[in-house]
Symmetry: D2
């Protein structure tokens, strides 16, 4: 059987033996009644990790992001975000659909929204304008290739937002990649945001689940919104156990994914590809015909996805080891030799 190296996303990981055991042994209760001890433990663990007063578990990162939008904006109000933001581009139009919120995308280098760009995007009080109420920032930035949003510019834009009367949401689906890559604690960003969402099912390797963290009052409201969105689950401890395991065991090891992404990028560059230098676990390879390159790689068992226009995207994660990287580089080199 052909070797398969699945670099499509860090969401594809399968629960490890330890994680499976945690799930099997999880103490559970009815979380809609607030009685699942594992869910509670997870929520407290993550709240502490992010240095926020409270947190809430939900089935997906889309749901925690959309709950945050709902908390931050009323009907007909505006959320400002980067034009490549996940909330705008990959969440199925949910801001408008679920919350009646208009999204205002803003251009910016490296997935960032500069204080100046933010100020330009926020318009004065006027009946013609949807009032801007929320700034969403994303870290690491998925569509821009896993780039870290450094604390200093992040804090500057968040300060500008506050100055303009906006709340701040941090889409931190891959926040721990940023933390590990920079050595900063996750809370270094969280302290500049009202709400933060983090995912356990991406690089951390849990099968399911995301959390939103914020003030006690926001999380109380979030619980209500989660119910309306259909995210209230019963004995959710069976999956929360996996998420708790992920937060406890799999954060530091993200450094390995980053190191492998670096080696993958190096190998691909050596093989003649134009590669964006990775900052975390995502590698973008420029290609004139991404579909053809994806097909050629897949024929040899190396799976990747289209990145933004003109790019192929490869993603390392905890089911990828050194030999997978070597194999992927070798295969990519062969493809290049055959299609120079």
């Amino acid at each position: 059987m052909q070797r398969v190296v699945d670099l499509r996303s860090d969401t594809v990981t399968r629960p490890s033996t330890g994680m499976r055991r945690a799930m099997a042994e999880a103490e559970v209760g009815d979380d809609v009644f607030g009685e699942d001890p594992t869910v509670r433990e997870l929520e407290e663990y993550v709240a502490e990790l992010l240095e926020k007063p409270a947190a809430l578990y939900a089935p997906s990162g889309t749901m925690t992001n959309q709950i945050s939008l709902n908390l931050g904006c009323g009907r007909g109000e505006e959320a400002i975000l980067h034009e490549e933001a996940h909330v705008f581009n990959y969440e199925a139009g949910a801001p408008a659909m679920l919350s009646g919120v208009q999204v205002r995308p803003v251009a910016g280098e490296r997935g960032r929204v500069s204080p100046e760009a933010l100020r330009r995007a926020v318009r004065p009080e006027n009946v013609h304008f949807a009032p801007a109420r929320l700034l969403c920032l994303e870290n690491t930035h998925n569509a821009c290739g896993g780039l870290v949003y450094p604390v200093v510019p992040f804090a500057a834009t968040a300060a500008e937002a506050r100055d303009l009367g906006l709340r701040v949401h941090l889409d931190g689906a891959r926040l721990f990649n940023a933390a590990v890559a920079t050595g900063e604690p996750a809370s270094a960003w969280c302290r500049h945001a009202d709400t933060v969402s983090v995912c356990s099912s991406k690089g951390l390797g849990a099968p399911v689940g995301s959390l939103i963290a914020g003030s006690r009052e926001d999380i109380e409201r979030a619980r209500h919104v989660r119910k309306a969105f259909g995210g209230g689950m019963r004995q959710a401890g069976v999956i929360a156990a996996a998420s708790l395991y992920a937060f406890r065991n799999n954060i530091e090891r993200l450094a390995e994914d980053h190191e492998r992404a670096r080696r993958l990028a190096e190998g691909l560059a050596d093989a003649g590809y134009a590669v964006e230098p990775p900052e975390t676990n995502i590698v973008l390879v420029a290609s004139e015909s991404p579909d053809a390159l994806l097909r050629d790689l897949a024929d040899r068992g190396v799976l990747a996805t289209p990145g933004r226009s003109g790019y192929v995207r490869l993603c390392t994660h905890l089911d990828i080891d050194d030999r997978d990287i070597e194999y992927a580089v070798r295969v990519a080199a062969e493809v290049r030799t055959e299609n120079p």
Copy 2:
């Protein structure tokens, strides 16, 4: 330690050893890529069970009901349902919030909507009226005390709905209770509905999860709506395995819950309570001061919930055995003796 008999809901069950084992051994993949074999198997199993072309897994019954509403009604259109319906009363205003759908509640005996009541509720084409597009029926009917909606009147109202140009959704959160209580297959009702939602986390005892079944086209659209609602999960096989186990192993045994509910009702009646004769696993006890009765029972470890106004509601399930029933009856009798 005091014995606790938790009769608050059939959602409180904890996964059994067999179910835990199924979860621990589940083969998984990324379900957002459509690659989780356990989720697929579950969806196919339930589709066949309900005799529908396709089914889709989601984190809650609220989500599958609300997806059905979204499929059945556009913005500013109307869903007609019983005034005690779960979709109207217990789903946090989601029809209006998520889909812009107005709900038109209709009175009716035993949780039913008669063909005449339906016809009266549907108004003619006129710019003043929200056009009625969907009828929602619920079986068994939760707020009405787990009453079965027999096939004949169900089919009659569904036929009337079709005649009026409406789609039909069956909120079958406890459909298998109706099936087991009557000896009819679940499909006897499903064939009169365009979409059906069923829950694995109620009497069937799984920790999490609900499915919506319908035509292939509807389920394809449902997949899109689920993503926007935040219900797309990754390695969902870890919980789908429990749901699959529940559908395979726990349907027939609902008869035991029904038998225990019957004995519970009998015992309570013998102790002097005014009890509605149960048809499935829910027992409604009339009380002039339900809050006081709930508190007195809880003081002795018997947990129940408020039913509709003037009632206390007790619910049997697979974590309740014969001795729990005996204990609950004995405690209730004591309470009555002390507060005649």
Copy 3:
């Protein structure tokens, strides 16, 4: 040419010569810039009349009601109203469509919501429940036959609403009919409501226009919502002049419409019809076959509309004089003679 007596609605009136002159001479400006002096004058006039701090002009009663709902309820929150309310039944599903608001209809005699019924309808804080935030009362009550909601029970229910933490909106499309019929000033009801909508295009005889009145802060928000709803108009003074004329000249004369409705009802009763005794300008006639009766009347030039199920509805207004009433009674008597 056959005489036509149009009793379908008090909306059918055509502007009088005096009203036309007021329109022709109206001073105007751009109301979106807040510069139309006639609109401002109208808004101030109505605010004073209702003893509210501020008012806002809009193109229709549906719009002013829906703005009030939007001010009073967030997404997924609940407005409680009578099951025959105009807001629920004749506004095209707008509460859900425009504002994501769930409507909870309540039964009640004579179009009223009793304090007890209100209390029962408001449910406790719980993630399953859409939080109730707004009570809507209607006076006079259109679908119930123009019945007056007397001040005392109105105030009692409004007090209960406040006690329950709800805001109160008064749909006063025909509030001046209630005022004239009882001798109470309109403000007697308005003081119990946060927002009030009144129409100039019903009994008052203007061609177009409704106003919402309330606190300065609410009206400021209302201005923003009106813009989003598409209700911002430019030189609206040309129609506001007609509305201002209507408020200045046509309130007291509603007494004539009431007197004619009384005589119409008397005449119909004498002719053998089962008539609900009118309190204002609407007459409900019970009929086993309303459609046939409407057709028979229309064949002779008397136009009416279906009332609630089993009723025909006739409405007096300022284009109906004594001879119109005599004619309508005579025609109805003939119809009855021919179809006993």
Copy 4:
């Protein structure tokens, strides 16, 4: 008293004597019953003018645009438009608020969306993506300075839209300015669009009112949406008469506004201002401190508005004559001399 030259917008015009007379003499009826002969005549007149099967009158251009969005996109679907589009920037967030529609803004020269930009903006079928269903184009383009969207590139992008399965809406608030400026009939653009909105209250000089034109089926649906949006009016003939007068009498004369805009631009350029050469009735003047310039002009009675960032915007219309232009130029020259 100081002379005032109001160049803020072509919406500020006041109805002329002839228009006032048309209003005063208008035959009216109840348009909610479809019985206002003047509204009908207006709708037929505009439908013919645009060569569309049907048209519908509504109180504002925001409402007709938003009805078109509602017809063209379901909840959670996407409308693609230019980043400076009125629908996105000046309609108070209505696409998301009223219809749950996500807007995807696209950059482009001169207010245009190129076929290539459109194709890039439309993403493939995928649960992560809000499906694109509608392209909105604007002609003339307001925020870009009244620029004409020539027929050839307009048709090319519309053809691309169709090829991609999208509907096309033309925001033609100032379509007749484009028609008069180019000598093309308005229908030259309309034939490439499914729905078109045109305003009577801008350059055409009516006090109120906009129309949406399209297929009979779309206009029937539009009538329903208009009711829900609160745009159903009663004896609307009193204002429709002004709109009808405007369409009949004030289209050709837009050439005078364009000529005056040209002379205004020339005069300003001669006075040393950096002026964008106008194509229709809007003049954009670059300024390092637009607020100061606006204030200085207003001090001398010349009123203008901020244009897009870094610009002041002046707009000619039928209440501006040659002497107004001379005065404005003289004043602007003085301001410049004093603040070189």
